[in-house]
């Protein structure tokens, strides 16, 4: 008899499921308000822009915008410049970022924490301030040119900005923390027993580094590089200022198309191509990162 009452009080699986699903709806309600701005200001307009890019001026579905893009010789130059600059900046970030991250990982934690501020501080400084600093340094009569001329190394001032050189220098400075921070996180999680094991088995420090340590840092390095590359592809501020209008990257063509000609179709087409490129790179990085994890 007592078991019968217990059975009656116990919720049936169906009731339980209903309670859980009601609970899940309540949890979802906590997330929805934060999701609303993304839906309204990102997903909806992006859908619109995509639609505008695949219709012509009469509102008919057509590939006109894409065909026009493909036919213009300027398009190829813009994409080439975007990829060239992004690749060079990513490469420079690897060359400068790896040694610094490695040094931070090798230092005792207390000293590393202080040195890490050198990476975090630029991260918190406005991109405009940092770009302005490079304009001051690289200008025709800027600090660098004056110093080089005073020291007699050059007679004529070098052209360091309003071209790709200045753009690459400024962008590298801005992207560097984005590579160092994830790379340092990977490096400081590597077990030093591996290094000691390699050394105790008789390998030289160089050999231990290249055969043991470097391969272990590859996931972090690759993830950071992909992230930097994606950020470079869509970057606007620094190329617009340090490029002085002479450097044309995809983002600047999109901006010009909208502000000067209200060309939403062409801008949408370029934007869609840009998003497909960045998503592809991020997806590859994500899959490789997941594959490497044990």
């Amino acid at each position: 008899m007592s078991t019968a009452t217990l059975d009656r009080d116990r919720p049936t699986p169906d009731q339980l499921r209903r309670v859980t699903s009601r609970e899940r709806w309540r949890f979802l309600l906590l997330v929805l308000p934060a999701l609303a701005p993304v839906a309204l200001l990102l997903i909806l307009p992006f859908g619109w822009l995509t639609w505008l890019s695949i219709t012509d001026t009469a509102g008919q579905v057509s590939a006109e915008n894409y065909i026009l893009l493909a036919e213009q010789p300027a398009t190829l130059k813009i994409f080439a410049a975007t990829f060239r600059i992004s690749l060079i900046v990513t490469l420079l970030c690897a060359l400068l970022g790896y040694p610094l991250a490695y040094m931070l990982a090798m230092l005792p934690p207390r000293i590393a924490a202080v040195c890490l501020l050198a990476v975090i501080l630029p991260f918190w400084t406005s991109i405009l301030v940092r770009t302005y600093a490079w304009m001051v340094l690289l200008a025709r009569r800027g600090i660098l040119n004056e110093a080089l001329q005073d020291s007699g190394l050059i007679d004529q001032p070098l052209r360091l900005m309003h071209n790709e050189v200045g753009t690459v220098i400024g962008m590298t400075h801005i992207m560097l923390p984005f590579l160092i921070l994830p790379l340092y996180a990977t490096m400081s999680s590597i077990d030093r027993a591996y290094i000691r094991a390699g050394a105790s088995l008789g390998a030289t420090p160089m050999r231990v580094f290249w055969k043991v340590y470097f391969p272990l840092t590859l996931p972090g390095l690759f993830g950071g590089l992909c992230f930097v590359f994606v950020l470079c592809l869509g970057f606007y501020i620094t190329p617009a200022l340090l490029g002085g209008g002479r450097v044309q990257m995809i983002s600047m063509v999109i901006e010009r198309s909208v502000t000067f000609n209200a060309g939403w179709g062409p801008a949408g087409a370029l934007g869609l191509i840009l998003v497909v490129m960045t998503t592809t790179v991020l997806a590859i990085a994500w899959m490789l990162g997941r594959g490497r994890r044990p």
């Binding site: 050198a118 302005y132 600090i143």
Partner: protein, 272 residues
């Protein structure tokens, strides 16, 4: 623990190289500080005569001061809204568990992965149709969307180590969900929420591209005024503005580090 097979002396080249790279990271933005105290009509390094004239120009210029006020207002409201919405969303994600939350997290962090220029023209397109261009409401709404991911990521990662049984115990003792959230969850999240709020403030205050499209006239942000200034004709006042922004970043980093250190201490105390 740090005795390696490499002697410290052998690391000297690495330390020199690392030191140079660290200088390359810090020095450029610091160089504008001495220049901002120049007394002549154009900026020079090092200044031949020192003065506060560019600071005085800034504090007497309607354009610069108005733009600063607009940026500060937008940043404060953005921090407020993004922190509330982001914290609730992070808690919701934690409660939802494994099934849905990765997908929702991906959707919430989309503003970080989509190129900002695209987000900017998209928002401009929407705002032009509903009359939100050049309004504070529009600016705060757009910046809130950009800032929510930072709050969500910071708070959500802290919630990973939060034991949900605490909430279950409270509710089995008769507490309601809102009460247990305020009395049990919020106090433990306070440091992450402050970090998230700081990040949200800075996201709005430093944001350039969206402001370039949707803020203008009397609603121009500081970054917009700075950008057009740098692009068209460089007014030396900008050196003073940049120096003050540098000081603010240094202060924010110090505050942020202090919060993180306190959070770590609080966490180790609660787990030991």
């Amino acid at each position: 623990m740090y005795e390696d097979h490499v002697r410290p002396r052998q690391r000297i080249p690495l330390y020199i190289l690392g030191g140079i790279i660290m200088l390359l990271l810090i020095v450029p933005s610091m160089i504008v500080v001495p220049m901002s105290f120049s007394g002549s009509d154009f900026l020079e390094f090092p200044p031949r005569e020192w003065s506060l004239r560019w600071y005085s120009t800034y504090f007497h210029s309607g354009t610069w001061l108005d733009a600063t006020a607009i940026s500060l207002t937008a940043a404060i409201f953005t921090a407020l809204f993004a922190t509330i919405l982001g914290t609730l969303a992070a808690y919701g994600l934690r409660l939802l568990g494994r099934g849905l939350s990765p997908l929702l997290l991906a959707a919430l962090t989309m503003p970080l992965t989509v190129p900002v220029i695209l987000i900017a023209i998209g928002i401009f397109y929407v705002y032009a149709r509903i009359g939100l261009v050049n309004t504070m409401t529009g600016l705060v709404l757009a910046h809130t969307m950009m800032a929510i991911p930072f709050v969500v990521v910071v708070v959500f990662s802290r919630l990973q180590s939060f034991d949900l049984n605490q909430v279950r115990v409270a509710e089995s003792l008769g507490s309601n969900p809102a009460r247990s959230f305020i009395l049990i969850v919020l106090p433990q999240l306070r440091f992450s929420i402050i970090s998230g709020a700081l990040l949200a403030f800075l996201t709005s205050f430093d944001e350039v591209i969206i402001a370039l499209f949707i803020s203008g006239g009397s609603q121009s942000t500081l970054t917009r005024v700075m950008f057009t200034n740098l692009r068209d004709q460089v007014d030396p006042t900008i050196a003073a503005v940049a120096s003050m922004l540098n000081v603010i970043s240094v202060l924010l980093v110090v505050v942020f580090q202090m919060i993180e250190a306190r959070d770590r201490r609080a966490l180790s105390k609660s787990t030991s």
